[in-house]
């Protein structure tokens, strides 16, 4: 890979500081990975292990209890559901959505964009024009259409969000591949007769991965927030099941009176987005200095 040349030169020149940097880099990877891990464990395993009330089916007489009430660490929402429990369960739903959407986006979009740029010519033009139509198509129309004809559900939300993520990732992948294509090592590999799928896997993918991963990591948080906006419009995780997005969008209706309903899920979201971003950073640093 092109990146190799740069660092091997400096490696020879400077051994001890490099070891220190390697250690710092490892730490830089482990901490965010640990944080992401913590969030995952909290949301997926926590509810099974911790003695918390159910996220739905709360007693309406317990409506709107403040934080630190007995039995309710963060208080309750207007329907009497425990907020802490809803955050953990909601995190599960939100994370599933965001991971699914980003994986789908990366896989389908990344493949499409890279292929399109690599093959070039008519194929590239056609694919790009189709993607153009999809990108130019306003998300609002589709969202409302899905919401009002198919109804809100986890699957529909993932599909709707993926629909928008794929063209976006495809374009980024294409742009990255385009600038990669002109590099000498690519021409060399082509001349050597490497088949297209090998080019893709061994040469293109690893080089465009950093940019795509950064994009995807940024996307993680955004997808969760957009999922909440979808709840506004009738899509998203259907009530009464929680997701961070729909907790925030329901809570904003009485933001000044009950800020807790928005603050706690926003905080959880913040920690998660931070973790993913740091992780993305670390991964990229790890890969680019191989």
């Amino acid at each position: 890979m092109a990146a190799v040349d740069a660092s091997s030169a400096s490696a020879v020149l400077d051994a001890a500081p490099r070891a220190r940097r390697a250690w710092a880099r490892k730490l830089g990877l482990y901490i965010p990975a640990g944080l992401v891990g913590f969030v995952m464990v909290a949301c997926f395993i926590g509810p099974l292990v911790l003695p918390i009330p159910a996220p739905v089916g709360g007693n309406v007489l317990d409506s709107g209890l403040p934080a630190f009430s007995p039995g309710h660490l963060l208080g309750t929402d207007p329907n009497g559901n425990d907020i802490f429990s809803r955050i953990l369960h909601g995190g599960r739903a939100s994370l599933i959505v965001t991971i699914a959407v980003n994986v789908l986006g990366l896989a389908v979009g990344g493949l499409l964009g890279a292929l399109s740029a690599y093959i070039g010519g008519a194929v590239d033009t056609v694919i790009m024009r189709v993607l153009d139509v999809l990108i130019a198509f306003p998300s609002l129309v589709l969202t409302l259409a899905v919401a009002q004809s198919l109804g809100p559900s986890l699957t529909n939300t993932i599909l709707a969000l993926a629909f928008f993520s794929v063209p976006a990732v495809a374009r980024v992948a294409r742009a990255a591949t385009l600038s990669l294509r002109e590099l000498p090592f690519m021409t060399a590999a082509e001349l050597a007769g490497t088949p297209w799928w090998r080019m893709l896997l061994r040469h293109i993918a690893p080089n465009i991965a950093p940019q795509l991963i950064t994009f995807a990591m940024l996307g993680m948080g955004i997808v969760i927030v957009i999922e909440g906006a979808l709840s506004f419009l009738g899509l998203g995780i259907p009530a009464p099941n929680p997701s961070w997005g729909n907790m925030i969008s329901e809570g904003q209706a009485s933001l000044s009176a009950t800020p807790g309903l928005v603050i706690w899920p926003s905080l959880a979201l913040f920690i998660t987005v931070l973790a993913f971003n740091l992780l993305g950073e670390a991964l990229r640093t790890q890969w680019s200095v191989r």
């Binding site: 089916g57 009002q148 259907p238």
Partner: protein, 535 residues
């Protein structure tokens, strides 16, 4: 955040000396009459919810405005109204009184309505407001596709005629007892200038209409902003007080609340978010007026299909439902629970129905076991408060062993559910100030209505009888009987009666805005010509 607001409020109060004490308006439920006397002049901005009265996409022509029932503020400011609902400041003694009409007579056992129009009223284009104009409007309005068009049982030949220059006669095929009570929410109440209509053409008229109300249109951005200025030739001497009103659409209670606090608006109609209402009530800058409720929640049960064709299943729902808890938990006991389709703010209120099946978890569980389990699809129209109530119901029914799946519907899917007959239980509201006004109770219970879950000739009979009985005492008796019958047959449990509140900044006063007027159907009709603002 709360303490800071309070500190600022205290500071303001200190700076203004004792001025804050001058208006002794209490900020909670009841509001006393304004101590100062009305001042002429000034302008206000009124916010309306973009999802309801803040949407007037089809324009402001009474015959083509399909959302007329929601656009009471705009329509009554521009057109005034033949009749208006007035009440004492505390909401009692509500009655529909002639406004642009001078008087009316119901003759022939309620089959003939004679309306005498006040002399000397002119539209803002100078043309006379006479019987011919009213007749013209009635005929147009009756043909309208708005759900606010009155469903008058008219005679075939010449149902609307004039007698002299200022009397209109309407002939019904059968007695129409609620005709006057329904006027203020029907488009026949708003009289447009026939001359202006013909000159401008319908398309332009719906954007800049011409009426004889307290204000006239300066500019109209549909479903966004309506700017009105005083009608100098308004028929009531000295009114309106205000020079200018601007109606603006806004997205939601929170945004409206903030706009009021920031001083960008002076009033907001129809706040329904309870925590915000509490916050507003505790805020010294605002006056909150809770309107007397007239439409209770009802859990419609589809008795035409399983599972609710089985009376035991319906009874189980009654026993499993605890609206008192909902009233306490979600609404902080601000609203009473009804057992029939009437509510404290409306006519013929019946507080308790003998034999009404109130909350009894054991009985509910027993019944569910007897029928071998119960699985219910419960739906409602997507709205903040309705969704919360529906979620609470789901929890309550689950305790009785009922499996509940809740869905909040958009309008189109709701209508589809009803039309296909596939629905099982729907949380809606029923009733009106006069149960026969507007779509009223018939909509939810009459066998001919596609939105009814009940197909019972006795119900039909009682409702028709009540709608055609003029004598109020007799009507009351019929409605009491109907409420009893519905309860006995366990057709539909009723819930709390909820009315959105009006919020105004201190210094703005008006009937219906800072005093109580029961909502005829959904929203209270503010009498805009009497709204004023202290300088």
């Amino acid at each position: 955040m709360r303490t800071k607001t309070q500190r600022i409020a205290v500071l303001l109060a200190a700076l203004l000396g004792v001025a804050a004490c001058s208006s002794t308006q209490s900020t909670s439920t009841g509001s006393s009459a304004a101590v100062e006397s009305p001042v002429r002049g000034g302008e206000i901005t009124v916010l309306e919810d973009a999802g309801f009265s803040g949407a007037w996409p089809t324009g402001l022509d009474p015959a083509t405005n399909t959302t007329g029932g929601a656009n009471l503020p705009q329509m009554s400011s521009i057109y005034g109204g033949l009749f208006a609902l007035t009440a004492n400041d505390d909401g009692s003694n509500a009655k529909v009184e002639p406004n642009q009409a001078e008087s009316y007579e119901l003759l022939d056992g309620g089959r003939t309505l004679k309306i005498k129009i006040r002399e000397g009223i002119k539209f803002t284009d100078g043309t006379p407001f006479d019987a011919e104009a009213v007749k013209f409007n009635f005929e147009r309005a009756l043909k309208s596709t708005c759900s606010c068009a009155p469903r008058w049982p008219l005679v075939e030949k010449d149902p609307v005629t004039t007698e002299g220059t200022h009397t209109v006669v309407v002939k019904f095929a059968q007695p129409n007892a609620a005709v006057i009570n329904s006027f203020p929410v029907s488009n026949v109440n708003w009289i447009a200038s026939p001359t202006a209509l013909q000159e401008m053409g319908e398309d332009k008229f719906r954007v800049t209409p011409v009426g004889a109300g307290p204000f006239k249109v300066v500019s109209n951005k549909m479903s966004s902003e309506l700017v009105l200025e005083r009608n100098p030739d308004y028929f009531k001497q000295g009114l309106p007080y205000l020079d200018k009103i601007t109606f603006k659409a806004i997205g939601g209670d929170q945004a409206a609340f903030q706009a009021l606090l920031a001083g960008q608006a002076h009033a907001y109609e129809g706040m329904s978010t309870v925590p915000l209402l509490e916050q507003a009530q505790n805020n010294d800058k605002l006056t909150v007026t809770l309107q007397p409720p007239t439409s209770p929640y009802v859990i419609q049960l589809n008795t035409k299909a399983p599972p609710f064709d089985n009376e035991k299943a319906r009874q189980a729902i009654y026993y499993a439902t605890n609206f008192d808890a909902i009233a306490k938990g979600l609404f902080k006991e601000a609203y009473p629970v009804s057992q029939s389709f009437t509510a404290p703010g409306g006519l013929f209120y019946q507080q308790t129905v003998p034999g009404y099946r109130t909350y009894d978890l054991e009985k509910a569980k027993q019944l569910v076991q007897e029928i071998g389990g119960l699985k219910v699809e419960l739906g409602t129209l997507s709205a903040y408060v309705a969704k919360q109530v529906m979620t609470a119901l789901q929890t309550q029914w689950k305790e009785a062993g009922i499996e509940v799946n809740i869905t909040d519907h958009q309008l189109s899917t709701l209508v589809e559910q009803f039309n296909s007959g596939k629905w099982q239980a729907m949380l809606q509201t029923a009733g009106a100030w006069d149960p026969a006004a507007g779509v009223g109770v018939a909509f939810r219970f009459q066998s001919t209505s596609p939105f009814s879950g009940v197909k019972d000739p006795k119900v039909d009979e009682l409702m028709t009888k009540a709608a055609s009985t003029i004598d109020a005492a007799e009507r009351e008796q019929i409605y009491t009987e109907l409420g009893q019958y519905i309860s006995d047959k366990a057709y539909a449990p009723f819930g709390l009666a909820f009315a959105p509140a009006n919020v105004a900044v201190k210094g703005v006063y008006g009937p219906g805005l800072t005093t109580k007027i029961p909502p005829l159907v959904v929203n209270s009709a503010v009498l805009w010509d009497k709204v004023w603002r202290s300088q």
